[in-house]
């Protein structure tokens, strides 16, 4: 019972066909699928397991018996040292603040843009959407000098506000693209009915479109949060003062010129990834509800 319940949601695309046949035949194939899934899960978890193993090892232990051995003692100093050295609590707050602000602001901007492009049907919307997509695909390295120049001219260099603005724009470019295509399939009847009821464009957006697309929007919030959380390059260049930096930038402190400190790096990586995992678990229900949920209801 439990297996049949658990299997369908965890087997997307390629697993879906055999899984359905199994329900009727209950053959050996379902065990093969299960074994493949377990193998896949183990492969995915392996790097994480290596990090956990090495996070609790002394450097000498690591050097003597390599990365795959079990730790001989439970060693927490690496983690504690790192926490104090980079003032991790503050970095955590900075990351939450930047990623959270970007997630919310970018979704709001995407909503406005997509309303105009997907429902408002402005002229040349296809080329506008393509433009957004291109903006989203540009590598950050290509953007960095112009961004730096502008930020420095307006006095926003070395401020978190600059990073929030940049990522709001970058993320909302993707958000606009996605939401615009979701909105283009928005049921016309509802829009017409509300227009007949005398709702203005603004009212239609907030009282009809926004509530109905809420599941999609919350998925975007989660995506934007995690993507921004993991960003390294732009925060690295823009957040100069240590007290403004985010977690991925703080991890960079451990990367030396010639030597690396594998155990402390593992401990730090573990510290850095835990908040993202917690956030994901929190919003997992929202995620699994899927992007398509809000499309037609």
């Amino acid at each position: 019972m439990t297996t049949t319940q658990a299997a369908p949601p965890t087997t997307p695309n390629n697993g879906a066909l055999p899984a359905r046949r199994d329900r009727h035949h209950r053959g050996a194939a379902r065990w093969i699928v299960l074994a493949l899934l377990v193998a896949g899960a183990l492969a995915m978890l392996f790097p994480f397991a290596v990090i956990v193993l090495n996070a609790f090892k002394t450097p000498a232990d690591y050097s003597n018996s390599g990365p795959l051995s079990l730790p001989t003692s439970f060693y927490l100093d690496g983690m504690i040292d790192f926490w104090n050295r980079v003032n991790f609590g503050q970095k955590l707050w900075n990351s939450i603040m930047i990623a959270g602000s970007v997630a919310i602001l970018a979704v709001i901007v995407s909503l406005f843009n997509a309303y105009a492009l997907g429902i408002g049907r402005v002229k040349g919307r296809l080329s506008i959407i393509v433009l957004f997509l291109i903006a989203n695909m540009l590598p950050h390295e290509a953007l960095i000098y112009p961004l730096f120049y502008i930020a420095n001219q307006v006095g926003l260099y070395n401020t978190q506000l600059a990073v929030i603005i940049i990522f709001t724009v970058i993320q909302s470019a993707f958000g606009t693209y996605l939401l615009a295509s979701v909105f283009s399939t928005f049921p016309k009847e509802i829009l017409e009915a509300s227009a007949l009821d005398g709702a203005s464009k603004w009212q239609i957006l907030w009282r009809v479109v926004f509530p109905m697309s809420r599941p999609t929007l919350s998925v975007l919030v989660v995506f934007f949060f995690i993507w921004t959380w993991n960003e390294f390059f732009i925060p690295l260049v823009f957040l100069i003062s240590n007290d403004k930096q985010t977690i991925p930038v703080a991890l960079g402190v451990l990367q030396g010129d010639r030597l690396m400190d594998a155990t402390t790096t593992s401990a730090a990586a573990l510290l850095g990834v835990i908040p993202a995992i917690i956030f994901f678990l929190f919003f997992q229900r929202t995620l699994s509800r899927g992007i398509s949920a809000g499309a037609v209801k």
Partner: protein
């Protein structure tokens, strides 16, 4: 009309489940709060920068502030020594040091941007070399400190080869021109050996090149691979270069590193290096499977006691002291050569945007004092101007004595990958082919000649 609108809205709200709404609202509130705080945070830090700038006219009298950045770990040799230097500096000048530990990666990626803004520090550590300090100097971002160097006599404390990386010409090429930085420490490449394995096989510390060969033969006969190696990163290239240096003089180094004359890879030095390297691989002196190993793999295998010898740099020293406890170990100079890979360490540089260059020079002066230099040495670093007599730690004295010998003979020959950006990868892949015996020494030399010539040509023009 109002009624129908509300029904519509409620209907729509019902369509989405309550939990989503709550979550979304919660996140929104959190983010809104965060934004507010961010605004405050931004203002706060602007204020502090503002006040630290205007500290000059603050009534406290001694209230000057100097911003200092470096990227050494706080319990490494440099971290400890510089911490003490900052303490002495604050005590003697009455100024406050605002120190921030930076990430190497951050400085590497964005120094040329930071130094163009108000956020630039008054003094910072920066990587030596054409592509690093040289580039910033040629862009006018670093202060020409020649005057201060002469005034404080730092030039007399540093040997010719240490000075090379502190001076850059208008094009940013090291070796001549004005001073743009001062190194506190050096680094060099030597042989680390495992005393227990040497004793076990009755091998003496080699004093000549032939001694080294016969020592390695003894190990090979006993089925022990003598030399730990990493083909995927810098160590193999450095061994290749060292082998060339056994046949070279200072002029070869100047040609290769400072572009004084064109370098012929079919000349005696580099031909010897390629042939000898291939011989060593064939004789089993270096592990045949080491082409794909990283420097970290090489180091940990030596720490684990798997190899009697390791040819690499002083940057391993502190780590070996901390982590090797299963056997005795020591160091010796690669025999048969006056010249060895090595150079000054990173530099103290004074950005052009520095508001307090005089105080910055004062700080550099303190770092060059005997007590700070000795502190650097006692913690596993290689001070540029230390007297081994001042060192309490026996192990450190061994390292610094060796460095001083090489340095006094002006034997630092820099690193093989320095001449051109990207040459590091070319060198690594060529020497990898030697380890795998995929290509003849002749082919490897031809590849290197081409890579070197195009790389240097691109760099100079």
């Amino acid at each position: 009309m109002t009624r129908s609108r509300t029904t519509l809205a409620r209907g729509a709200a019902d369509a989405t489940r309550v939990p989503t709404r709550k979550l979304l609202a919660g996140t929104a509130m959190l983010a809104a709060g965060a934004l507010l705080l961010a605004a405050c945070g931004g203002d706060d830090s602007d204020d502090t920068t503002g006040s630290s700038d205007s500290d000059d006219d603050a009534p406290s009298g001694e209230g000057e502030t100097i911003t200092l950045w470096h990227y050494e770990s706080e319990n490494g040799a440099m971290g400890i020594a510089w911490d003490e230097a900052m303490r002495i500096f604050e005590e003697e000048t009455g100024a406050t040091v605002e120190f921030e530990e930076k990430a190497f990666e951050q400085i590497r990626q964005s120094a040329n941007m930071i130094l163009n803004t108000d956020e630039a520090p008054d003094i910072m550590e920066y990587n030596k070399g054409n592509a690093s300090a040289g580039l910033l100097a040629s862009q006018g971002l670093l202060t020409d400190i020649t005057g201060a160097v002469e005034e404080h006599g730092w030039d007399e404390m540093l040997s010719e080869s240490l000075q090379t990386t502190a001076r850059y010409d208008e094009q940013g090429i090291m070796g001549s021109g004005s001073w743009y930085g001062v190194p506190n420490y050096g680094e060099f490449v030597m042989v680390f050996y495992n005393q227990d394995l040497f004793d076990e096989h009755g091998v003496e510390i080699p004093e000549t090149y032939d001694d080294l060969i016969s020592a390695m033969d003894t190990f090979v006969d006993a089925d022990v691979t003598p030399l730990a190696m990493s083909g995927a990163e810098y160590p193999a290239g450095q061994l290749f270069y060292e082998l060339a240096l056994t046949q070279a003089d200072r002029q070869f180094v100047n040609d290769y590193q400072l572009y004084e004359n064109p370098v012929d890879f079919n000349g005696p030095e580099l031909t010897h290096a390629a042939d000898t390297f291939a011989d060593w691989v064939e004789a089993g002196y270096v592990p045949g499977d080491s082409a794909g190993l990283t420097a970290e793999d090489m180091g940990t295998s030596f720490i684990a006691g798997d190899y009697p010898m390791l040819f690499s740099g002083s940057w391993w020293y502190g780590r070996f002291v901390d982590e090797i406890d299963g056997f005795d170990w020591g160091i010796f100079e690669f025999p048969g050569s006056e010249l060895h890979p090595g150079s000054s360490g990173n530099l103290w540089v004074v950005p052009t945007a520095s508001e307090n260059p005089e105080l910055a020079y004062e700080f550099i002066e303190i770092t060059m004092r005997p007590e700070i230099q000795a502190l650097l040495g006692n913690n596993g670093g290689v001070p540029v101007a230390a007297d081994p007599e001042d060192l309490d730690d026996e192990k450190s004295a061994e390292l610094i004595t060796l460095f001083n010998e090489i340095n006094e003979a002006d034997g630092l020959a820099f690193y093989p990958d320095w001449p051109a950006p990207g040459f590091y990868d070319d060198l690594a892949s060529s020497v990898q082919q030697l380890i795998n015996a995929d290509a003849s020494p002749q082919d490897v030399l031809e590849q290197l000649q081409l890579a070197y010539d195009t790389g240097v040509d691109d760099f100079l023009n």
